[in-house]
């Protein structure tokens, strides 16, 4: 080690406290970068591998019924790779020891060999045997949620007949990573919805589908146009009650999985950037101070012939050392957390394979961005150091210039004690450094607000969706449209206190060249169990004619109230009609198009017809209702609001708590680091002044007040700015989370502000405490002896 490096090493050691604080900020940034990027890469890779190995289809379509011969015509569509026809039906299941009925989606499997597309991975047990119509494979999540084991039996009403199904295997499939039923339920409820795979022949016999199919999936050949294939497929299936084909991108499970993975991608940029920006700022502050105190040392090095490059590199190495230390720590931590996170996700998503691969890109990326941060942070001061002419550097720095401050110009100085005036003048003299400190703390505040925002927004979303919009206890869906008089039977079911019927129709909505494949929901004009609400949660009236859209759907279709939509119904006679948009609702989950139920019946040119009902149930009689529902063949699906709420909370809640915890730690580190560093530097710059004050008879408390008072003012200024900034971040988040599945409203609660204030205050007080102790150890004589 040469002497200059030895100096570097000792300079680093002397300020270790400050430097570790900065390195921690760097390591937080790098850790979050490495963690999220490696998890993102790994999950994407794992997902793709899973999809490929299990031949996940690329286009999906449901229809009413088509002869198997149609499959050849589908195969002939240019661009189609492989075609797999299936039978898919939802049935009500009686799960042993469960009161509530569950919905099972039965999917046909070829009995001889594994399916060509959407293959299953058998975790336990075996594949179904040919000719055994009572054997089923059950999805793992459903089995787990209901404690189902091999050889257990499930009761099911299959086409009006009570039947026992024997579980021979537990399986998973790339098609149902998230087991979501679709329609109104967008979140998995593994206890009440699951996938059952069954031999095709048996399923065909039960549902009158011999030599026919009602679901087709296919892959595309290389270079094929997805949209062309979908259009051609739709045309072929039109005659057979096709419900509209859709690409893998819109496949619900895949859509949710991609959303989850995408969230990680978002984390790879925003948070690390914030941290590195703060680290760069702290490095700048510390290095400028170091260079200011080493003016003469720099001059000496120059006098003895050290080149500018050598001196510049010396100080750059100083920042590099801190940053690389932080980056190494962060990378190790990030790899560890990344592996954990990937594992967590892979387990959560039940991937049968698991690959954690943090390639060199991640590590080099981390090092590159940290070096970039170091250079950004260090460059200004390093440049100042090397451009200092040696002769000038030998002369002591001129004393800082003090001008009358605003306070004096406004004649307010008598309001402040001398100590107060010292504080104010110091703040005014170094506006840039003060503003940067404020910005650093404000960012920490903003990070906390953003973290809390997620929690609050989701709570609000849940409240709106499950208390204001959906107010029913149970929703039942019939396997096919029923005459309106069925409602009286429904009302008479045990435990039903109130019931409202609905009609839902699969349809394509079109406006100009925009279109969306969703449905129309007809509800009663005076509906109470499903309320249409606007932004302020006021009830929106449902006009007797026209359609009311979820605002997000209106956005997608580029329509406003008054525009006329083209509705292409995908059921029965498939009428195509024009309907005016008459209103918008602010629902936060899913996309809906509502009509008055009679208007919808009229549009369908049908008599009064219903698809299902919302029920309010007497809790004491609920079990009776459930038992009864299990026996009614006409009921194809059944959901309870509480179950949906629980499932949503379970999925989002855990993630939120972990996120908030991490963000609190991150923000505390930032706050501590910024406050500690700026106070340390103020102490170093002004130790002479403070020592002189002590000699003049000021008490320790008084000089602590001068030093820490300055920091306190910075923090107090930073907090409201951070609130604003956090509000901005939250607004940005709310904007990015404006998705089809759900939308996060811009809600920041008072408790979020209070919580943030508390965390920042605690972090500040701790750093203030440490500084206070160092201040008490101020060596008066030594300080006065140093020449400056």
């Amino acid at each position: 080690m040469n002497s200059l490096d030895r100096k570097l090493f000792r300079d680093l050691l002397r300020q270790w406290g400050q430097l570790i604080a900065i390195a921690l900020v760097v390591s937080c940034g790098i850790a979050s970068f490495v963690m999220s990027l490696s998890a993102y890469d790994s999950l994407k890779f794992t997902k793709t591998t899973y999809y490929n190995q299990y031949r996940f289809a690329e286009v999906f379509a449901s229809l009413k019924r088509a002869p198997e011969t149609l499959s050849d015509r589908i195969t002939e569509i240019p661009g189609v790779g492989q075609v797999q026809t299936r039978i898919v039906v939802d049935v009500i299941l009686d799960v042993p020891e469960k009161e509530q009925p569950a919905t099972g989606r039965m999917i046909s499997l070829p009995s001889q060999q594994h399916p060509m597309l959407n293959d299953i991975y058998i975790r336990r047990g075996r594949y179904i045997e040919a000719g055994r119509g009572d054997e089923v494979l059950v999805s793992e999540s459903f089995a787990k949620a209901n404690n189902l084991k091999l050889e257990d039996t499930l009761g099911a009403v299959i086409n009006g007949r009570w039947q026992k199904l024997r579980i021979v295997g537990i399986a998973i499939s790339p098609e149902y990573i998230y087991e979501v039923r679709g329609g109104a339920s967008l979140f998995p409820d593994n206890e009440r919805f699951g996938i059952l795979w069954m031999e095709r022949e048996a399923l065909a016999t039960a549902f009158d589908m011999d030599g026919a199919f009602n679901n087709v999936t296919l892959t595309l050949s290389r270079g094929a146009s997805e949209q062309n294939v979908i259009d051609r497929l739709d045309r072929i299936l039109e005659r057979y009650g096709g419900l509209g084909a859709y690409p893998r991108e819109d496949q619900l499970s895949n859509h949710i999985v991609d959303g989850e993975i995408k969230e990680l991608e978002g984390m790879t940029t925003v948070i690390p950037t914030l941290f590195l920006a703060i680290a760069a700022f702290l490095l700048h502050v510390v290095l400028s101070r170091l260079i200011a105190t080493q003016r003469e040392q720099i001059a000496i090095l120059k006098a003895f012939g050290y080149t500018k490059a050598a001196i510049g590199f010396h100080y750059l190495k100083f920042v590099m050392a801190i940053v690389l230390f932080g980056a190494t720590l962060g990378t190790i931590l990030g790899l560890w957390m990344g592996k954990g996170l990937t594992e967590l996700y892979a387990e959560f998503l039940r991937f049968p394979i698991f690959r954690y691969n943090a390639d060199w890109r991640v590590v080099f990326g981390a090092i590159a961005i940290s070096i970039f941060g170091a250079i950004v942070g260090g460059l200004g001061s390093v440049y100042k150091a090397v451009s200092l002419p040696p002769a000038v550097a030998m002369r002591p720095e001129p004393p800082p210039e003090f001008k009358p401050t605003l306070i004096e110009r406004w004649g307010l100085q008598n309001l402040f004690s001398p100590a107060g005036r010292i504080i104010l003048r110091n703040l005014e003299r170094k506006p840039l450094q003060a503003s940067l400190s404020i910005l650093g703390i404000a960012l920490a505040v903003a990070i906390l607000i953003t973290g809390r925002y997620f929690e609050d927004a989701v709570t609000y979303l849940v409240d709106v969706q499950f208390r204001h919009v959906q107010r029913e206890d149970v929703t039942i869906v019939f396997n096919e449209p029923r005459p309106a008089r069925t409602r009286y039977e429904v009302a008479k079911l045990p435990g039903v206190v109130q019931s409202e019927v609905f009609r839902s129709v699969p349809a394509k909505l079109r406006f100009q060249h925009y279109q969306h494949r969703s449905g129309l929901t007809g509800i009663q004009a005076n509906a109470e169990l499903l309320r249409l609400v606007d932004r302020s949660l006021n009830t929106v009236n449902l006009p007797a004619d026209g359609v009311v859209l979820t605002k997000k759907l209106a956005e997608i279709l580029h329509v406003q109230p008054g525009d006329v939509l083209t509705v292409e119904v995908l059921e029965a006679d498939r009428p195509v009609r024009s309907i005016p948009v008459v209103g918008l609702v602010d629902e936060l989950m899913g996309l809906s198009a509502y009509m008055e139920i009679n208007a919808l019946n009229k549009l369908m040119r049908e008599g009064q017809t219903i698809s299902g009902a919302y029920l309010r149930v007497d809790a004491n009689l609920a079990n009776k209702l459930y038992t009864r529902l299990k026996e009614i063949p006409a009921v194809a699906a059944f959901t309870t609001r509480q179950a949906a709420l629980d499932s949503f909370n379970e999925i989002s809640g855990k993630n939120m708590r972990v996120m908030t915890f991490i963000l609190v730690i991150f923000a505390s580190i930032i706050t501590f680091s910024v406050v500690y560093n700026s106070a340390r530097i103020a102490l170093s710059e002004r130790s002479r002044e403070l020592a002189s004050l002590r000699i003049l008879g000021f008490t320790r408390a008084e000089i602590a007040f001068i030093l820490l008072g300055e920091q306190a003012i910075l923090i107090l200024l930073a907090i409201p700015i951070g609130f604003l900034l956090g509000y901005g971040f939250a607004a940005y988040m709310s904007w990015t989370y404006n998705q089809e599945l759900f939308r996060l409203p811009l809600i920041i609660t008072r408790s979020a502000y209070a919580f943030t204030f508390l965390v920042v205050s605690i972090a500040s007080v701790i750093s203030g405490f440490i500084i206070r102790r160092q201040l008490n150890n101020l060596d008066l004589i030594a300080v006065l002896k140093t020449r400056e």
Binding site: R6, P389, P390, A391
Partner: protein, 241 residues
């Protein structure tokens, strides 16, 4: 060192050198048309009151600063035309500096302070040897804070001479020291001048020191008012002030 006594060679030549500092609106003329020649192996003392331009002159000689007007030669090398990089090389290869406040690097030991210079020099002494010359072989591994002012200044001298410079420039080397300590420092400088034949310039505002010089240059308000040659040099140990 061939025939130093008989035919002395000119080391530095200054022609019409002026230096003006711009201080806000006012111009400070630190040097006014200086003409000067320094010979090889000479020990020069620069006398003059504070603010008379001594440091400015020395800094220009040492390549730390450049004149506003005029020309400076070092052994036929035109320093006024030199680039920043050339001046850096000039300082690295040819010049040793000693300053009033020692200016040691506080985080390096005596030996390391010297090594700082020997590491980048062409034919340096070993740090221990240089410290031996100034009588500090016992204090090699002490940090500046553990040394007295005189000791620190001797480390600074060791650091300046360790590279065997052709010129040694000392700006008030005894300014911060008491009488006895100052003398020991001057002895060290003289020793270097004599043993190594290094052309040496010492700034002082202390006229008593002038007696040890070959040549005494007196300055006032940026001008050289007098140049004297001492016929008899006094040993530093016998100086009085």
């Amino acid at each position: 060192m061939k025939g130093i006594e008989t035919q002395q060679q000119t080391v530095f030549r200054m022609e019409e050198v002026s230096k003006t500092y711009q201080m806000g609106e006012v111009k400070v003329r630190a040097l006014k048309s200086i003409n000067l020649e320094l010979e090889e192996g000479e020990l020069i003392v620069l006398l003059g009151p504070s603010g008379s331009g001594k440091s400015t002159l020395l800094n220009i000689l040492g390549g730390l600063d450049v004149p506003t007007e005029g020309r400076v030669w070092f052994k036929g090398r035109n320093l006024t035309k030199a680039s920043d990089a050339d001046l850096t090389r000039f300082r690295r290869e040819c010049v040793g500096f000693v300053f009033q406040f020692y200016n040691l690097i506080p985080s390096l030991t005596a030996r390391e302070n010297v090594a700082l210079v020997t590491e980048i020099a062409v034919h340096p002494m070993r740090p221990r040897e240089a410290l031996g010359l100034v009588g500090l072989d016992e204090r090699l591994d002490h940090f500046p804070a553990q040394l007295s002012g005189g000791e620190q200044q001797r480390v600074a001298i060791a650091r300046a001479i360790a590279k065997r410079p052709q010129v040694l420039l000392c700006d008030e080397p005894t300014g911060a020291l008491d009488f006895q300590t100052g003398k020991r420092v001057l002895e060290a400088i003289e020793l270097v001048n004599k043993e190594l034949g290094t052309t040496t310039a010492i700034i002082t505002h202390n006229a008593g020191i002038a007696a040890m010089a070959d040549k005494v240059i007196t300055m006032r308000s940026g001008e050289i008012t007098d140049i004297q040659r001492n016929l008899v040099k006094v040993k530093p140990s016998q100086l009085e002030w």
